[in-house]
Symmetry: C2
Subunit: 349 residues, 2 copies
């Protein structure tokens, strides 16, 4: 009893706030079941200030400040002018949550944050897929060398437990192929296009409805899907690749007429991702492709799907339906709880 | 190093032989990665004899004897005339694998085997769903009281990791509803009926093809699906129910004309299982029902499917495609490895 786990959060966007909500709700349950008091001792944002407190930050109050004032309260005694990298390198914490915005072209500076934390023997949970896509092997090996945790459930398919499931349940299987649909935005656009709407109109409505971001070029050009496929192949098949090695075609060239033509063949068009071993090397491809209307991948309600092809368990498919912010937060939360599980195991020594 | 894990197998049918194959193949890998030498020290069958050896039984040789002679070699020095219950109660082992044939009406005598092992502080892995359907709470509580493992991944959806996934990845979620298709035989019959074939003809062909058992009444009447649903509800929602409490309708009343009528409405007929909380009580139902042709549950290739409705992770669906014997063995194998993981955690004390 009386054990403490201090968490430093780099970034406090959708995933961060959802994590904060879940942690606040489950704090007492965690204390009861594990003996650990989990405290967030730092919240760093890019332009909205930083809060730090060894006693722990009131997370709901932090969220309220951001939502009401667009920034943390600079007059608070917990307010600091300190950037993410300095926190990663110098602050006192047990677990670093890497939740900063994605830099899909290089994974920086998130890679540096994670490297700094792992080098100091700190555990890392990343909701940022950049570091996994650009530097997975290096960071994995650094974590192993220093005997610390490096988890990242939420980077692909939000909180859908593809990585933890594979690690816990398929660890004696060899995964030889990965297929899936990983980008929710293009999946939605293609579905709406099936109603005859042109892409511009769908995107306009999506932005007005608040569920599509201003810049969706990373989605439409297939970069987001390629980065996620890279992460899956690096983690599940030890591919050691980067997103620029994925054979990538976006959905810019798809028009309602193409969808209509596919429908006349009984098919729908999806932005398909696939990775498999070709001549001893893991090769990944993202491109629009047709699937039969009654195929699982064609389910109009699904947000994302992954199929893993294994030697001992055959083909296993997981479907994600919801796209609630809670799911993103839950993945980060579960990873943080895995750190505690690991510490509890060590604590028996 | 030099650690031993001795395994007693009650039953040596499809799951047992598949487990034996995987264990033989992975034995050295397990020793390297965990330090444990896993030995099977007893194989008990109902009518084909029993082998016991403190040094470990040659599993491939045991399989060969059964396949070539229909029984273990009675002249072998390892041969014994000893029944499952006596082995469970008196033999020297660390893990009991309960792999005896299912008694769907009571779960006996498998419940007694498991109770005997858990009472002696032995770990148990069950591929037999009877005990989970009829006595889950008692056995779970007994295992907890004695600080031993009680795992059963393969009881529902073969080795598809529904239980281990839920335990490791959804442990902080509340599951409020379970839906699925769990019986592969009826799923196949309904699919074939869609081609206009009457049930008798499908079953006859299935038997001749060797992929349908002589007595499929438990499948057709919905008992098998009801037992699996019971296990899921007991484990995932702590329902504390038995199969006789499931509202059950089989597929005996379904004829090709019904399937044709459903098709005219754009639907297919499936043997659907569902459990949810009604007035504070978990209520389960198994019955034929219609699903839209483009619904995931209608996928003609799937063998089984489960959807879990959670508070924090939304709806999560897992699909099983293959029905290889290896999958059944893999579930037992993974559960056995979880016992070793647990022992490795304790070993750090």
């Amino acid at each position: 009893m009386g054990k403490q786990l201090s968490v430093a959060m780099l970034g406090y966007g959708i995933a961060g706030k959802a994590f904060a909500r879940i942690l606040t709700e489950k704090k007492e349950e965690i204390k009861r079941s594990t003996g650990y008091d989990v405290k967030v001792t730092a919240i760093v944002t890019g332009s909205r200030g930083t809060l730090m407190s060894a006693e722990g930050i009131d997370l709901l109050e932090a969220t309220r400040q951001l939502e009401e004032n667009g920034a943390f309260d600079a007059s608070s005694p917990q307010y600091r002018n300190i950037a993410a990298m300095e926190v990663a390198e110098t602050a006192d914490y047990d677990v670093l949550l890497e939740l900063t915005p994605l830099n899909i072209a290089s994974g920086k500076p998130a890679i540096d944050h994670i490297r700094a934390a792992l080098s100091r023997g700190k555990h890392v949970v990343s909701a940022n897929k950049g570091p996994l896509a650009w530097a997975y092997r290096e960071l994995r090996d650094l974590a192993r060398k220093n005997g610390v945790c490096f988890f990242f459930e939420t980077t692909v398919m939000a909180g859908t437990p593809v990585f933890n499931m594979a690690e816990y349940c398929l660890q004696y299987c060899k995964i030889s192929k990965v297929e899936g649909i990983f980008n929710a935005t293009t999946n939605y656009i293609l579905k709406e296009m099936g109603k005859g709407l042109p892409m511009e109109q769908i995107v306009k409505a999506g932005r007005e409805g608040g569920f599509m971001e201003a810049d969706i070029s990373m989605d439409v050009q297939g970069f987001d899907a390629a980065a996620k496929l890279t992460v899956l192949l690096n983690v599940l098949m030890d591919a050691g690749i980067t997103p620029d090695q994925i054979d990538r075609t976006g959905i810019e060239g798809i028009a309602p007429a193409d969808i209509e033509a596919a429908a006349s063949r009984g098919n729908v068009i999806k932005l398909l991702c696939r990775g498999e071993v070709v001549d001893g090397r893991v090769v990944g491809k993202v491109a629009p492709g047709e699937v039969p209307q009654n195929d699982v991948f064609a389910d109009p309600d699904l947000v994302a799907v992954v199929s893993l092809y294994t030697d001992l368990m055959g083909k296993l498919t997981m479907l994600q339906y919801g796209l609630e912010t809670t799911q993103t937060g839950y993945g980060v939360f579960v990873d943080t709880m895995r750190v505690i599980d690991m510490l509890c195991g060590q604590g028996k020594q």
